[in-house]
């Protein structure tokens, strides 16, 4: 499938933290010809194995399968409900169409006509509510409530949907597995789709206990430049995935990503990360006896909003870069089994 087809398929799914199974089902189904075996680990992460020759180094690609959501917290009389919205800007919410368990609702707001002049109208989540309509049973307390954004193209190269964090990265890994289908590889590729990143990066902590990869490439989305963000060094949409540089990435791994991209003519950018990268990779690097971890991030605007936007080209080239990494045996010779040459 093409990048845009993967984005459409994956953003049609709703999978809040702890509710990732729908994404896993779709991946197992659509990628069936592209992996040798699959398993679900104790944390609930989906692992797709693409076996290399016996004794081959293990290369892990990982992205989180969950997305942010509102969480229904209390029923009110008349078909209304309160909700919690961790990590979501409440400014986006009034008059937003939402969906929970197939039921549609609207985040209600007081009409401007009824607002008392001089009284500050608070629109934090505590003052907001979801209106599911009076005739329906309400979804249970604790159910995730999703943005009902209809995914669509903006111009030729921008894809807009809710949940592109991190379905865009899931799409890139899927593209790589498809590209590698039937090829003989020098490595065993393990594609892991993690649970509960958005609620504390819990899934990644489990990931390396059993799998012991020799190196990992963690994909996530990152903040792309947009007008109201006064951070001049953020990556731009459409210029390729951003290769993280900082303590989360051993210098050798960073060089491997950049040189592979250069050799393949794949555009990429550099993302300075002097501390916590904010991704699963921060946990992964110090899991077990340590995992050499590289970070590859797809620039995205309006993160955690109902209108996340990525460049389709970035997603496609990111997938292509992953495939190229899986084919590059030279770097593995340098790394050795212990992986210390990455440092």
């Amino acid at each position: 499938m093409t990048a845009v087809e993967w984005l459409e398929r994956l953003t049609a799914l709703r999978a809040a933290s702890g509710h990732e199974e729908v994404v896993f089902d779709e991946l197992r189904r659509l990628l069936a010809p592209s992996f040798d075996r699959s398993e679900t680990d104790a944390a609930g992460n989906l692992l797709l194995w693409r076996d290399g020759p016996p004794g081959a180094p293990r290369l892990l690609f990982t992205a989180h399968a969950d997305q942010v959501a509102l969480w229904l917290s209390k029923h009110l009389p008349g078909g209304f409900a309160r909700f919690a919205a961790p990590a979501i800007d409440p400014v986006c919410l009034p008059a937003l169409e939402v969906e929970a368990k197939g039921r549609h609702g609207v985040v209600g707001m007081l009409p401007p006509h009824l607002r008392q002049s001089g009284v500050e109208v608070k629109e934090g989540e505590k003052d907001l509510y979801i209106d599911f309509g009076p005739a329906q049973d309400l979804p249970a307390v604790g159910e995730p409530v999703y943005f009902a954004t209809v995914p669509r193209l903006l111009g030729e190269d921008r894809f807009c949907a809710a949940g592109l964090d991190d379905r865009a990265s899931v799409a890139a890994i899927a593209l790589a597995l498809e590209e590698l289908q039937g090829e003989d590889l020098p490595v065993t590729v393990l594609a892991a789709f993690t649970v509960q990143e958005e609620t504390g990066r819990s899934g990644a902590a489990y990931l390396c206990r059993e799998t012991q990869p020799d190196a990992a490439v963690v994909l996530d989305v990152t903040f792309g430049q947009q007008p109201e963000v006064a951070e001049p060094d953020l990556p731009l949409l459409g210029q390729g995935a951003a290769v993280g540089i900082g303590p989360n990435v051993p210098p050798g791994l960073h060089r491997w990503l950049e040189s592979t991209a250069a050799a393949e003519g794949i555009a990429c950018q550099r993302e300075p990360l002097p501390g916590d990268s904010g991704t699963d990779g921060w946990r992964l690097q110090v899991a077990g006896l340590g995992v050499p971890t590289a970070l590859l991030s797809i620039p995205l605007t309006s993160m955690h909003s109902p209108q996340e936007v990525v460049s389709i080209r970035d997603v496609a080239s990111c997938g292509h870069l992953l495939a190229a990494l899986a084919r590059s045996p030279l770097s593995w010779d340098h790394a050795g089994k212990g992986g210390t040459a990455w440092i």
Binding site: A230, P232, D233, I245, G246, P247, N248, V249, P250, P251, H254, R270, P272, P274, G275, D276, Q285, V286, G288, L289, G290, V291, P292, G338, G339, T340, W342, I343
Partner: protein, 338 residues
């Protein structure tokens, strides 16, 4: 190994190679094992076949610094802290950029234009490193995004030899102490982990601990001293009063048996020591505690911790060495250990 040489070596979190090579060159030749793990920790051990508790000393190799995060059109470098460096401390300082150590200056508009405003509100957005590049392209090729920047601070000793002024005492003082302990042959298994990435979240130690699985852990550290005119009197750890033993900090409560044994060792060695005052901060003893290991910390008090220049008492450092030596000689007597 000279403390000076250790302090002048350069290495921010994840970029400890130079420090690691220097430490490696200073190690005794009779070690049982020497390994660099996948994080970059340097793990050494002696006396592994001997009876007694497996003791692990932790000392981190990384130092705080800055990272190049971008370039201005006129060729200056935009920066962010690499580790906890307050922006108010970096303006007007000399730095070295990249592995090659390109000289740079953190400039500030002349006082005439702002009359000293902005100390409290200093932000990295307003601070730049000037490496003399004429334009953005020159700056990018000399100092690409992601390069480390360290403080270009000389190491100086006061005329009476009592104190040292320099950079990176946190934690090259700990590294020095660990190297000193490796000069002896002990009658129990002694492990030392020269760790990476302490300054960005106690990260190297987490991995080193899983490999070593020790019985007792001591973090050797530099801790913030607050015996300066602007600090509340009597509240802070004091430079010159000897090494500081931690009771409680933000990362853990020190193991009671270890704490007692360390205090006894201080008395037996007849050196000054102090309880670390204040319960803020944290160190690798906390990482050990979280993994279920008995741990404590011995710290050299250091003024201006995490700033481009800091100060320690060399007498405190020597006292820490004596205390540690006595502690290790009697390590079998640590209460609660069978």
């Amino acid at each position: 190994m000279d403390l000076k040489e250790l302090c002048l070596a350069r290495g921010t979190s994840g970029r400890e190679e130079q420090v690691r090579e220097l430490v490696r060159s200073a190690l005794p030749s009779d070690l049982d094992s020497l390994a660099v793990d996948r994080m970059g920790n340097l793990l050494v051990a002696q006396g592994q076949d001997r009876p007694g508790p497996r003791v692990l000393l932790l000392a981190h190799m990384d130092e705080v610094g800055l990272m190049v995060t971008g370039h201005t059109p006129d060729g200056r470098l935009r920066i962010r802290a690499w580790g906890g460096v307050p922006p108010s401390a970096v303006a007007g300082k000399s730095v070295l950029v990249g592995a090659a150590g390109l000289p740079g200056a953190i400039g500030r508009p002349p006082n005439h234009f702002h009359r000293g405003e902005g100390l409290a509100t200093a932000k990295y957005d307003d601070l730049y490193v000037d490496i003399g590049a004429a334009d953005a392209n020159t700056a990018k090729s000399l100092a690409p995004v992601g390069e480390m920047i360290t403080f270009d601070t000389p190491y100086r000793v006061s005329p009476d030899g009592s104190s040292a002024i320099g950079k990176a005492f946190d934690d090259r003082a700990g590294v020095w102490l660990a190297l000193e302990m490796l000069r002896h042959t002990w009658d129990f298994p002694l492990h030392v982990a020269f760790t990476v990435q302490e300054e960005v979240g106690l990260r190297g130690a987490q991995v080193a601990l899983r490999a070593v699985r020790p019985d007792l852990v001591l973090a050797l550290e530099a801790t913030a001293a607050a015996d300066t005119p602007d600090a509340p009197p009597g509240r802070g750890t004091r430079v010159g009063d000897g090494p500081a033993l931690t009771t409680l900090d933000r990362s853990s409560r020190a193991d009671e048996g270890l704490r007692e044994a360390l205090a006894r060792a201080g008395a037996a060695a007849e050196v000054p020591w102090q309880w670390r005052r204040g319960i803020g901060g944290g160190n690798e003893a906390g990482a050990a505690w979280l993994q279920g290991y008995r741990s404590a910390a011995v710290s050299v008090p250091c003024r201006y911790l995490h700033a481009p220049v800091s100060l320690i008492s060399l007498r405190d450092l020597a006292a820490a060495r004596s205390l540690l030596q006595r502690f290790l000689e009697n390590v079998r007597e640590v209460r609660g250990h069978d």
